[in-house]
């Protein structure tokens, strides 16, 4: 199976702190790949390296075989990687609907951004339906409850027609039923060919959701494989599961 993304030998440090040490993993096409690990393990940093927010000291990140390390964040986003944020970053002045329109703008030429477009409007409607936020379309997004804001972020990210979708702790702030709905939505997207990389703390949720998982601890990857294998890995049990149990 082909890989959408190859994340190889990445080191990232901030002053004295080494946030990532020699981290490598691949993300296969049309799979849901999970990253777990305790707080401060470096999970969000991986997202920031992939999306170009941070420049790592060393390493390589390839999207469909093309090196993207060093590109400006907006170029990486346009190349087909979109993301959500652990600390939600919605646009404070905009309604949910405006988020849907906006996220489709960058990939279209200037002139068509000025003209109204039926295709854009329709896609926006579909995104809101998919994530169950049509009812709040005219509300200012940041005024909504956290769980709903996360859905808006996901809809915004998916509206950009990504090849790879990065989700940073999307279930935080959602109740059990909402999380279950989200799991089904994401698996549906995967079955249609989308590749997803997801960070989440909830082990049970991740076990049911992911096709593959990688475990981070203190900036290093300590394990990777199918969820069932991860669950049995002694290093993982020591570092992460043991702590929770």
């Amino acid at each position: 199976m082909a890989n959408v993304l190859e994340f190889h030998d990445v080191d990232q440090s901030f002053g004295g702190i080494k946030a990532l040490t020699d981290v490598s993993f691949d993300i296969p096409q049309a799979c849901i790949t999970g990253i777990i690990g305790p707080n401060g393990a470096g999970k969000t940093t991986i997202f920031n390296v992939i999306t170009g927010a941070y420049r790592p000291d060393r390493g390589s990140v390839r999207l469909n075989g093309q090196e993207i390390l060093g590109l400006a964040p907006y170029r990486i986003a346009r190349a087909g990687i979109s993301r959500t944020f652990q600390n939600i970053r919605l646009f404070a002045s905009m309604t949910v609907w405006e988020h849907m329109l906006l996220s489709q703008a960058p990939r279209t030429p200037m002139l068509s951004r000025i003209l109204p477009s039926r295709a854009v409007a329709e896609r926006g409607e579909r995104m809101m339906e998919l994530f169950g936020i049509s009812a709040v379309r005219d509300r200012i997004a940041v005024s909504l409850p956290y769980g709903v804001q996360r859905k808006v972020e996901m809809a915004r990210a998916y509206a950009m027609e990504p090849k790879l979708l990065l989700l940073d702790e999307p279930v935080a702030g959602m109740n059990h039923d909402e999380a279950e709905d989200l799991r089904q939505t994401l698996q549906g997207l995967r079955d249609k060919g989308l590749s997803i990389l997801i960070i989440e703390h909830d082990m049970r949720f991740m076990m049911n959701l992911c096709d593959e998982m990688h475990v981070m601890n203190y900036g290093r990857k300590i394990a990777g494989g199918r969820p069932a294998e991860i669950q049995r890995d002694p290093a993982v049990i020591a570092a992460y599961l043991g702590e929770d149990a």
């Binding site: 400006a72 993301r83 960058p106 200037m110 000025i114 003209l115 990210a157």
Partner: protein, 279 residues
């Protein structure tokens, strides 16, 4: 029928509206310009020179001046990308003062003595340009391009990470603002028939900012309210005409304290939409 005095007020109000819009477009990306009088000066001097010395008809002269001013906007905008908030405000203030002193020293356009010889434009011509520019801005406000502009203001980093080229967006805003200010300058020159560098000082730049902030900084319609207010208020307060500036200053402080977004805000129209749907 309008008296020539009233016509003058309407013309002043239109030019002020254009100036306020020029600040508004730039501020929509989160950048405050305190130097738009500089762009206005470029528009005023260049268009006057084109009509008087080069014999060009006014409309193409205005178009050329706006284009040249936009290029200056680009030249200023590029370094401005590195500066944020107050530092950008101070840099634009410096730019405005530099343009003013440039014309003070520039003898071909009269230096400190000013420049004259322009032909008077009819009021409808000024109103026509104002309506045209206003319509353009208000139409742009409804496009996805404008959402990008607002996104840069709301959260520049996130805007980049969701695929927006924030550099281009900010530069375009600067160029657009510079062009609009130049139109305002050209109209001012052909309304007053005499221009001097002192017309384009710091107080002019702040007048634009004032009109926009008072009227409402989150939508173009706010500038209409602000410009109208600044022009009408002295008429209503004849007895206090000497204290006009102080009253404006107090008004500015009061608005910032009580209603930071200005008199109008987006919700005014949101409310209208809500009513329509409810009925």
């Amino acid at each position: 029928m309008m008296s020539s005095y009233q016509a003058g007020l309407v013309a002043d109000g239109s030019i002020l509206l254009l100036g306020a819009l020029s600040v508004y477009v730039i501020l929509s990306t989160g950048q405050l310009s305190l130097g738009n009088a500089g762009f206005m000066a470029i528009g005023a001097y260049l268009s006057s020179w084109l009509t008087v010395s080069a014999g060009m008809p006014l409309t193409p002269a205005i178009v050329v001046s706006a284009a040249v001013s936009a290029v200056f906007g680009l030249i200023i905008g590029f370094p401005a990308l590195r500066l944020k908030g107050l530092y950008l405000a101070m840099a634009t203030l410096g730019f405005g003062e530099m343009v003013r002193t440039f014309f003070l020293n520039f003898e071909p356009t009269g230096g400190a003595g000013g420049f004259s010889g322009m032909e008077h434009v009819p009021l409808w011509y000024i109103l026509g340009w104002t309506a045209f520019v206003l319509a353009c801005v208000m139409i742009c406000e409804r496009t996805r391009w404008w959402l990008e502009i607002r996104a840069v203001n709301d959260d520049e980093l996130a805007a980049g990470l969701v695929g927006m080229n924030t550099t281009v967006t900010k530069l375009m805003a600067f160029m657009t603002g510079a062009a609009i200010a130049a139109v305002a300058g050209a109209l001012l020159a052909h309304q007053n028939l005499y221009i001097e560098p002192g017309n384009f000082g710091f107080d002019r730049s702040t007048e634009f900012v004032l009109a926009m902030i008072l009227g409402g900084s989150s939508l173009a319609a706010g500038s209409i309210v602000g410009a109208a207010l600044l022009i009408m208020l002295p008429e209503l307060l004849r007895d206090f005409v000497d204290w006009r500036i102080a009253i404006f200053g107090a008004l500015l402080v009061a608005v910032l304290l009580v209603r930071r977004q200005g008199i109008l805000d987006r919700n005014v129209f949101g409310l209208a939409k809500f009513w329509r749907r409810a009925n």
